[in-house]
């Protein structure tokens, strides 16, 4: 069975982002970019499934500008067998990304599609669900445990939902989106980084996949959120209780 993993290139999670003065967006030039942490978890899970002998190939896919190839190279160094880069320089929203994936799935025919539950830049949390809808595949979102039974063609997924953990059984092929606690992604070792240089990255365009990019959203402005002001440092519990009672009136 083949596993397809979606990889998004985003501003590194440790970078303190800056809103552009003209309010057109968040500054991304000269900023450290990395693989979206949730995508790292998705790739790690795919690699572990392959290492346990239940998958034959892991294919990493990224959609976006030319630099996405660097992020895919990282994915190859982690252990993906090959990569596909659908190059598109403009703004992409999840609906277009989902259509591109649908077209790729039709061509590649994987048995499982793994994605991060959301990207840490736009925080949309949509793409996996939308791909599953377009493909008419079942979905297991926010997964914290994935148990694959390839013989019976089902996968059992524990999902992190508001009330606790929900367990679902899905027929394969399926779409799974990963939550933070699913696994701890590995680091690429130096030999594997070297090896990754000779692995193939196939380049495609949305046009090659017969997907027309259209957008039904328009970003009007991006602003900084209102800042909370630091309050006062108090000296005793008594003072705190007094302030809560008589000033803030919350107890």
């Amino acid at each position: 069975m083949k596993i397809l993993v979606a990889i998004k290139r985003v501003v590194d999670y440790a970078v303190k982002i800056r809103v552009k003065p003209d309010k057109s967006g968040v500054e991304t030039s000269n900023v450290k970019m990395s693989m979206n942490p949730f995508c790292e978890i998705a790739l790690e899970e795919a690699l572990r499934i392959k290492e346990s002998g239940r998958a034959s190939e892991v294919v990493a896919v990224s959609i976006g500008p030319a630099q996405c190839a660097d992020t895919l190279r990282t994915g190859l160094a982690m252990g993906a067998d090959r990569a596909i880069h659908v190059e598109y320089p403009g703004t992409l929203y999840p609906l277009s990304v989902a259509k591109i994936f649908k077209s790729l799935v039709d061509a590649e025919k994987p048995g499982l599609l793994l994605l991060g539950k959301q990207a840490i830049d736009d925080d949309c949390n949509q793409t996996g669900q939308m791909i599953a809808g377009l493909l008419k595949w079942p979905q297991g979102t926010f997964a914290s445990k994935v148990v694959l039974d390839e013989q019976n063609k089902v996968v059992t997924v524990d999902r992190e939902v508001d009330g606790g953990l929900e367990t679902l059984s899905l027929d394969l092929p399926a779409v799974i989106t990963t939550d933070l606690r699913l696994n701890q992604p590995r680091y690429a070792t130096l030999p594997n980084i070297m090896k990754a240089k000779s692995k193939a990255i196939k380049k495609l365009s949305p046009k090659d996949l017969n997907v027309e990019i259209r957008s039904d959203l328009e970003v009007v402005q991006v602003t900084e959120p209102p800042k909370r002001k630091a309050g006062v440092i108090l000296s005793s519990v008594d003072e705190l209780i007094d302030r809560l009672k008589n000033e803030a009136r919350v107890i």
């Binding site: 736009d122 939902v161 367990t167 899905l170 991006v222 909370r228 519990v237």
Partner: protein
Amino acid sequence: LSTLVLAEHEGGSLKASSLSAVEAAKRLGEENSVSLLLAGSGPSLHEAATHAASCHPSVSKVLLADSEKFTYPLAEPWAKLVYLVQQKGSYSHIIAGSSSFGKNILPRAAALLDVSPITDVTEISGSNLFVRPIYAGNALSTVRYTGSDPCTLTIRSTSFPIGMVSASVSNDACIEKVDLSTFNEDDAVGKSRYISLSSQETERPDLGNARIVVTGGRGLKSAENFKMIEKLAEKLGAAVGATRAAVDAGFVPNELQVGQTGKIVAPELYMAFGVSGAIQHLAGIRDSKVIIAVNKDADAPIFQVADYGLVGDLFEIIPELLEKLPDKK
């Protein structure tokens, strides 16, 4: 304008997040007719429908989808249901709460309808202009929806508090059964099966809607010590929260996690003990009215957002609070 609210119900009544979605619908504009879509099976569904019909003066219709297929909140049949109901009702907007329920189902339904959904809306400035947080709340994006109907949204319930719906305003929306005769199963319906839900049974208020939240961080040092937080919460009638660090250290289960990747909270009082104040955590508490921080490190970032801070040993401060705070009940 006409809005379909994808409602969530439990134990025969509508969840608070769905009432917030109705509040959000009101902000889309005047003359908005709001229909609630309720799905499930059995008597609790009908109880919930009766509750839904009278719960809010803005609700004009309750659509009831009664089938075994909807006993559990599986995305595959539910998204299909939203699609069918939209085909028939041609709503201009579809709204769901940004709960794990709404986030799981709504994007899938949007894909079936070939429209772009908008996640986590915190502000509505007209029928097609919305504000939503990006980068874990470190920036706010104003987006205009320019696509065809329906415009699909999930809303942060903390941003749309349920107004004072006076008990004297009685509403009597009509309850209508959804015709499921065209609900064929050629799609993914049936390809997913519900196995179980494990949750912690608790008397405490729900973290997402509590008036007071008491949170513990890594500073609590152990699961044993974390019980102090629970005691304090009990005394105040508060919900218990935890930081990612406390969850990862195994002090408490992950459903208590507050922050961008956990629950977003906006209580009247937020009390943080042994919490350093990582960006991801702060993004989840930003809209709290009053924040209190207790930490032995005077330089902890949490103090930059706290209204009241106490620098000191929480193992001395919590017992003192337990002794001196008035009992809630």
